[in-house]
């Protein structure tokens, strides 16, 4: 097991170096620099421009900047945002929980609705239920997120007044964040109605962000179920006279869920992309929008360290999953 762990850890080193290289050079390849962007139409004199670039260390050769970047990271210094003058680490972790909270809610909703919808479509193959479910899924999959978000706001918030337009909790609730997860913090605050308010504010962004993964999960579940329902053991189960519901729930679904679970895992990337637009429409203070704004501002330290932090978190989660998998399945660690 130790050997397996060491092997997995060793694999992280080239991944880490690769990520730092991509993150560092990606933002520098783009034309324009942070000083110019901050000055806007007002411009900046060449002397002043050179002075600020020197202060920030951007006048050094690229290899030296990259070396300094790596050294700083190993010291735990992820740099300071040029746009806010605050440490990138602080900026990142003040936004990260909001994105995670929204993404978890979205994937939960997508799974909760997507799997039953796929099953329903599969067991009713060719019937109107199947066509309606898959038609809806196709519409959901093709939905432009930004437009969809605005449409829901206009209808549910503007017309029906059922949901709030934007934000994370009603403004009359005021407490200092503890975890950054509004649902948890609202419970910890002890303020009456805070948790319900936080849930209320999550509804529309969750629905919007869940739309595409829901469609994908529903389609994947349907196709996996159809494959499994044609297997011999399902036919045997039916031949034994088991009720149809039992055959579907116990015999078919458990096997069909394997590719579905993989699909749900793959939706994480889709969620990150969707989060950028969802966060914009609903003024959700997450990292998606922050990263895009930082690229536009050419905020080098934020982009290079923000990307690295996201990658480090994903790498850590993957490592934990791999280790757990190896513990559960001994064949993996002996391969």
């Amino acid at each position: 097991m130790l050997k397996f762990l060491l092997k997995r850890l060793a694999l992280l080193i080239p991944t880490f170096i690769g990520v730092t290289l991509v993150a560092f050079f990606f933002i520098r390849i783009l034309p324009g620099d942070p000083v110019q962007v901050l000055a806007g139409e007002r411009g900046v004199s060449p002397e002043r421009h050179a002075e600020v670039m020197r202060q920030l260390g951007f006048d050094l050769p690229l290899w030296q900047q990259y070396f300094n970047y790596l050294t700083d990271i190993f010291r735990g210094d992820f740099g300071t945002s040029f746009a806010s003058k605050r440490p990138v680490l602080y900026e990142f972790f003040s936004r990260f929980p909001a994105t995670v909270e929204l993404s978890l809610c979205a994937i939960f909703l997508a799974t909760l609705l997507g799997v039953p919808a796929g099953i329903l479509a599969a067991v009713n193959r060719g019937k109107w239920i199947d066509q309606a479910t898959m038609g809806t899924a196709l519409v959901g999959y093709s939905m432009p997120i930004f437009w969809w978000g605005l449409l829901l706001i206009i209808f549910f918030s503007g017309y029906l007044h059922w949901t709030p337009v934007s934000g994370r909790i009603a403004l009359n609730y005021f407490f200092k964040p503890v975890t950054g997860f509004m649902l948890i913090d609202s419970l910890l605050s002890g303020q009456k109605g805070a948790f319900t308010s936080a849930l209320h504010y999550l509804i529309l962004p969750t629905v919007v962000l869940a739309t595409i993964p829901l469609a994908v999960i529903a389609r994947q579940t349907r196709s996996a179920m159809l494959e499994v329902l044609g297997e011999d053991y399902v036919r045997t189960a039916r031949a034994k006279g088991l009720p149809s519901r039992r055959v579907v729930a116990l015999h078919a679904l458990r096997n069909a869920l394997i590719p579905v679970v993989t699909t749900i895992g793959l939706q994480v990337g889709v969620l990150m992309a969707g989060a950028i637009l969802t966060e914009t429409v609903f003024s959700w203070p997450g990292i998606g929008k922050w990263m895009i704004e930082s690229v536009n501002k050419r905020d080098y330290f934020v982009v290079q360290s923000g990307l690295l932090l996201i990658a480090l978190i994903i790498m850590t989660v993957n490592l934990i999953v791999d280790v757990l998998y190896a513990i559960i399945n001994p064949r993996i660690r002996h391969q």
Partner: protein, 531 residues
């Protein structure tokens, strides 16, 4: 006894409930997050609204809803005869805000003024680099740094500024955000604690509201400064709910979740105005949108070519097609509301046939023009691409071959400033202050060639007029000089003048006494809400 207890409880409850009922709250759905809370470091209006306009005061200020300069922390001032010294007489009894993180031991005095200016002027001050990449951009870029010589304390309530030369454009900097007055005592405490960066995150000022809390990208909370020198503000709790998407902000306003929104979508303004619960206000924008030719490149170095191109453009069509009619066609390079705008200025003539002839007379045939269109919407130009297409059609009609070109905004800004830039660039400007030099000098002087002067136009006669106006303190005399400069501008035509875009703002009807600011700030001084 029991009755007495019940009555007392009832009285206490009434007082408690009464207190909460009368706490007035206003929610402003701001368009973005502040970069920080030290206004000297930043240049964005969003940041100024959240920092300097809410928390801080300045020696003098712009009048509410106007651009005239009125007393603030200084009750009066004298300008020396030679124009190189300004003495401010400071207000007494001004109290600093008391917050969770700072308890002042003294009132505002001259030491605070000296600290606020010297930290920006003195490169050796520890405050010059108190956060990574600190840059006092406005202090530097407005020319204040170059003009500033010293500030000295005459007594606790008198300060004297000395400048390197007589410059009538200097005084107008004093009400600007970057010259907000901070507490020297608070700064000293932070310095001693080795925690100077806090100055940019937890502000302390003398302004109408004191900072309570900021949750990143979500909400900023302030409460009224109870001891403000002009009296406590009507709004007890001022909340900035950050709502970056304008369409969402509009829905929030309609749903009653916001009381004020700053930038309604121009196309939706009429619909919002018809909502019985809302009020839409507008003010002529202190901005200008224009096309800058590169006057250093042939054949655009010939004024006849530039004049001909200007004559070929149907500005009325641009006003309707790009600005939806919500702008004023520009007659001069500065807003028509300015005292320095020559009333004799015109929008120019639209005559494609005359334009064609003028080009032929100038010996220019098969003219190619690369037109840079803005990839972003700005207050002075809501739709760069549409404007580019309209201009392309107009110029094509007189035989000019127009190539539309654009780039990512940071690149656009950088590349369009270069002296050897190919083509004409679509750009604009929003006023920093109400001084005419902020347009006529900043955008068209020889010193600005290669930076803000994107026409790369250097006319010695014009430049001499601008310099003469800066050295004159009499407004009427200055105006006369600027009128002459504008005549030269019209004759030389370094720009295609377009429009001054109106500024709109929408608020709920429960908001009372809100005055829209022509300089684009969002201030809540004197604002009230209906019970």
């Amino acid at each position: 006894m029991k009755l007495m207890k019940t009555l007392l409880t009832a009285a206490a409850l009434t007082a408690l409930l009464g207190g909460s009922v009368y706490a007035k709250q206003l929610v402003y759905c701001s368009e973005g997050s502040p970069e920080g809370f030290d206004p000297a470091l930043w240049s964005a209006g969003t940041t100024f609204d959240a920092s300097s306009r809410a928390v801080y005061d300045r020696l003098v200020d712009f009048e509410l809803g106007g651009s005239a300069i009125v007393p603030s922390l200084a009750e009066s001032w004298d300008i020396s005869e030679d124009g190189t010294q300004i003495t401010f007489h400071l207000r007494k009894g001004v109290k600093w805000q008391t917050t969770d993180y700072f308890t002042p031991t003294r009132e505002f005095n001259a030491d605070d003024v000296l600290w606020s200016f010297n930290r920006q002027a003195d490169a050796a001050s520890p405050w010059a680099t108190y956060v990574d990449g600190a840059s006092y951009q406005y202090f530097d870029s407005t020319g204040f740094k170059a003009a500033f010589k010293s500030v000295e304390k005459v007594d606790d309530y008198t300060v004297k500024f000395t400048f390197n030369s007589a410059d009538s454009t200097v005084f107008v900097n004093f009400p600007m955000d970057f010259l907000s007055i901070g507490s020297a005592e608070y700064a000293a405490q932070l310095e001693a604690a080795g925690n100077m960066a806090q100055f940019n995150t937890l502000p302390v000022g003398t302004g109408g509201w004191q900072y309570v809390d900021y949750q990143t990208d979500t909400v900023i909370r302030y409460k009224a400064h109870p001891d403000h020198w002009s009296g406590k503000e009507n709004i007890d709790d001022l909340i900035f709910a950050i709502t970056k998407e304008p369409a969402a902000a509009q829905e929030a306003l309609k749903a009653g979740q916001c009381d004020v929104i700053p930038y309604p979508i121009p196309a939706d303004v009429d619909a919002l105005a018809q909502d019985p619960n809302l009020v839409v206000t507008q003010t002529p924008g202190e901005n200008v949108g224009f096309i800058a030719y590169n006057t250093q490149q042939a054949p655009f170095d010939k004024k006849e070519v530039r004049q001909a191109l200007n004559m070929a453009v149907n500005k009325q069509a641009i006003l309707e097609g790009v600005y939806s009619g919500k702008a004023q066609l520009a007659i001069n390079p500065l807003p028509a509301s300015s005292w320095a705008s020559d009333p004799a200025g015109t929008i120019g003539t639209y005559d494609p046939e005359a334009a064609k002839k003028m080009l032929a007379d100038a010996g220019v045939t098969d003219l190619n023009l690369k037109l840079w269109w803005m990839p972003v919407a700005r207050p002075y130009n809501p739709n760069g691409k549409r404007m580019g297409e309209l201009l392309q059609a107009d110029w094509s009609a007189i035989g000019v071959n127009v190539e539309l070109y654009s780039a990512d905004w940071p690149v656009y800004l950088e590349e369009s400033s270069k002296v050897d830039r190919d083509g004409a660039v679509m750009i604009g400007w929003g006023a920093d202050n109400a001084d005419p030099d902020n347009f006529l000098g900043v955008l068209l002087s020889c010193a600005a060639v290669g930076s803000n002067n994107r026409a790369q136009w250097c006319n010695e006669e014009y430049d001499a007029k601008i310099a003469a106006a800066k050295a004159t303190f009499d407004q009427a005399e200055r105006a006369a000089i600027y009128f002459e400069a504008e005549k030269i501008f019209h004759e030389e035509a370094p720009w295609l003048l377009l429009a001054h875009s109106n500024q709109y703002l929408a608020h709920s009807k429960r908001v009372l006494n809100f005055k829209q600011d022509p300089l684009g700030f969002h201030r809540f001084d004197g604002v009230d809400v209906a019970e």
